[in-house]
Symmetry: C2
Subunit: 319 residues, 2 copies
C-alpha cells in the first residue's frame, strides 16, 4: 500500500492530493491513508500537509553512497572501514559487537535509521531514516581509563568544528557533550567504554546529529527543546560531507591529543562552550551543586565555584 501511495504522488508531482482522493483511489479509510503517510515519513519521505488541500510529496529519502563517501575522505585511520546498515536497533550495540571481535581503530558503524537509538542515561534517541547522521566510531586510545572524559570533550570539539566548517551556524557545546543551537539540542554524543583494570580495551563514540529533520518530524513538545541543521539554516545538508568533515577534524585533534596531551583540546573546548561563566544547578549522585562553572581541569572535570566560595569538581552530572 505504501508503494501505491508513493506511485500516486509520483504521478502527480508538486500537486496537493487530499486524503479523501487517496482513500477513494486506494480503497481504504482516511485513517489508513494517514497511517501510511506517517509510515512513509518514518522511511524518510517528506510530505507537506495543508488543511483543505491535502498532502504534497516534498522529499524522497537521502541515501548514503558508500563509494562516494570513502573516495573523498582524507583520513588515515578514521572511517577507513565503514560498516553501513539500512536499519539497526542502535549503532552503539553493533559497534560493541565489532569492537569485542577485534575491529580496528577508526572503524565506523553507520546506519540510515536506528529503531532503538540510545542517548545518555538510557534515554531513547529519535533517529528517523535518512534524516540524520547516526553513527558509532570505534577507538582504541593509548591512554588509561581515567582520561576517557577528555575523549568526550575531544569528540564534541571535533563535531562542533566540523559543523561550523561547513556552514556558520551558531552551534556550541553544553558540558559535557551536547551540541546546541540557540539553546536547542542538535546533536548528542555518548561515549561507552570497556576497560580492564586501568587499561581501556576500547571506546565507542556514539554520535547522533539531527541533520535534515523538518519541523513536522518532531512530535509533541520536542520542537521546544530540539532543532536540526536544516531547520536552523533553511536548507538541506549533505550528510556524507558532514561525516567526512567530522572524521577529518577528529583525526587531526586525536593525533594532536596523543602527541601533546589534553591542553590544546581543553583550550579549544573552552572556546566553543556555553557552559562556562554562567550560574548552573547540577544534579550528581551525591546531591545538587549550585554555582558558576569557571573552567575544566586537566582531567576534563568541570570546576564549579559555589556561592560560599568553595570550588567543586564535577565528573558526571545532569545540568
Amino acid at each position: 500500500m505504501d508503494r501505491q501511495i508513493l506511485a500516486y504522488f509520483e504521478l502527480h508531482p508538486n500537486e496537493y492530493i487530499s486524503g479523501e482522493q487517496l482513500s477513494e483511489k486506494l480503497g481504504c479509510s482516511r485513517t489508513a491513508v494517514w497511517k501510511h503517510i506517517s509510515a512513509l515519513r518514518d522511511q524518510g519521505y517528506s510530505f507537506e500537509a495543508v488543511p483543505r488541500r491535502g498532502y504534497r510529496l516534498t522529499g524522497v529519502p537521502d541515501r548514503y553512497d558508500l563509494a562516494e563517501l570513502l573516495s573523498k575522505l582524507h583520513t588515515t585511520t578514521m572511517g577507513r572501514t565503514i560498516k553501513l546498515f539500512d536499519s539497526v536497533e542502535s549503532t552503539q550495540t553493533v559497534a560493541h559487537k565489532f569492537a569485542s571481535q577485534g575491529a580496528a581503530e577508526g572503524t565506523l558503524v553507520l546506519a540510515e535509521q536506528q529503531t532503538a537509538g540510545r542517548g545518555r542515561m538510557g534515554r531513547s534517541w529519535h533517529s528517523p531514516k535518512g534524516k540524520g547522521v547516526w553513527m558509532s566510531l570505534i577507538l582504541r586510545p593509548l591512554v588509561p581509563l581515567q582520561f576517557t572524559p577528555q575523549l568526550t570533550l575531544l569528540v564534541a570539539v571535533a563535531l562542533c568544528r566540523a559543523i561550523r566548517q561547513i556552514e556558520q551556524v551558531p552551534v556550541a557545546i553544553k558540558w559535557p557533550n551536547d551540541l546546541l543551537i540557540e539553546g536547542k539540542k542538535v546533536s548528542g554524543i555518548l561515549l561507552e567504554s570497556s576497560a580492564e583494570d586501568e587499561r581501556l580495551k576500547y571506546v565507542i563514540a556514539g554520535i547522533g546529529i539531527s541533520v535534515n529533520l523538518r519541523a513536522e518530524d518532531y512530535t509533541g513538545e520536542l520542537l521546544e527543546k530540539a532543532t536540526s541543521l536544516r531547520i536552523t539554516s533553511g536548507a538541506e545538508w549533505n550528510r556524507s560531507e558532514l561525516i567526512r568533515t567530522f572524521l577529518e577534524q577528529f583525526e587531526q585533534l586525536y593525533t594532536l591529543y596523543h602527541e601533546e596531551g589534553f591542553e590544546p583540546i581543553r583550550v579549544a573546548w573552552e572556546a566553543l562552550t556555553i557552559s562556562l561563566g554562567r550560574p548552573l544547578l547540577a544534579r550528581t549522585t551525591k546531591g545538587n551543586v549550585e554555582g558558576v562553572a569557571e573552567s575544566i581541569d586537566e582531567m576534563g572535570a568541570l570546576l564549579v565555584r559555589q556561592s560560599d566560595g568553595t570550588l567543586t569538581k564535577l565528573y558526571s552530572a545532569e545540568i
Copy 2:
C-alpha cells in the same frame, strides 16, 4: 578408566601403587596410566609420586556447599546471591553476561574450575578444579569512572586482610593488585568495567586465589614465581571460609569508601604493600619509568620519584 584407577586406590588406602602394577591391573601402558593420573589431578584429586614406590592417593576434590556457605555469611549485599558453576570458561565472562542483564550489586559468580581463566593483559590463569577460589563479584559503585583504580586497590586490601584474618601468612600487595607471599604470586585481581560517559554501568571484580594447590599442581618453572596458601602454611584451607571472610571484609571497606571516600582505603593499602620505598622499573605505553615509588595519590595512581628528582604518576604499568 579414571574411575577404575580411583577404585583401585580406594581399595588400597595410604598405599603406594606403582605405575607398573596399575598398568598390569588395568591392561594399559604406563604412559596411559600417567595420563590418567594427570587427568585425575585436573579434576581435583591429589597424588603423591615417589620414585621406585609409585603413587599414593592423598586427597579427593573439595566441593563447595552452597547452603553452608550462605548460612554462615554475615553480609547485607555482597554474595547474597551466588551463582555456582562446576566448570566455566571464565567467571569474568559469565559475570559480564549477568551484569549486562541487570544482576544486582554483590552477585557472586563462583566456579569449581575455569577452563580458560583470564589474567591481566589477556594472560591465562591456571584454575584447576576444587583447588582454588575462582570468582567474580558484580559491583555497581556510585562513583564516576575515573575512580575505578581506587576500587582495584580496595579489593586488594579486602583480600589481603581476609587471608591474614584466617591465618597469619606474610601476604602483601604488589601494586596495583597482585598478592604475593615471599615474592611469589598467590592471588591475582582483575577489574573489568563498563561505562557510559563518566558513569560506571558496572564493574566486575575478578579474583583468583591459589588456595589448596600443591607443588605438583604447578608445571614447569611456575613454582619459582607462584605459590599457594597450602604450600605456605602446610595445611588445607577451607575455601568457603575464605570467601565469606573476603566478602565481609570487602563489604565493610566498600561501605566505608562510599561514606568517607578513598583516604581510609589509601592508608590501609599503603600499610599492606611491598611496592613503596623500593627501586622499580615500570613499562608503560609511553616508555619505561625508573625510580622509587613514594606513595599513591588520592586517585589511586602510583607516584614514582625518578633519579633526576621528578615525580611521575603511574596510572597503568607493568612493574
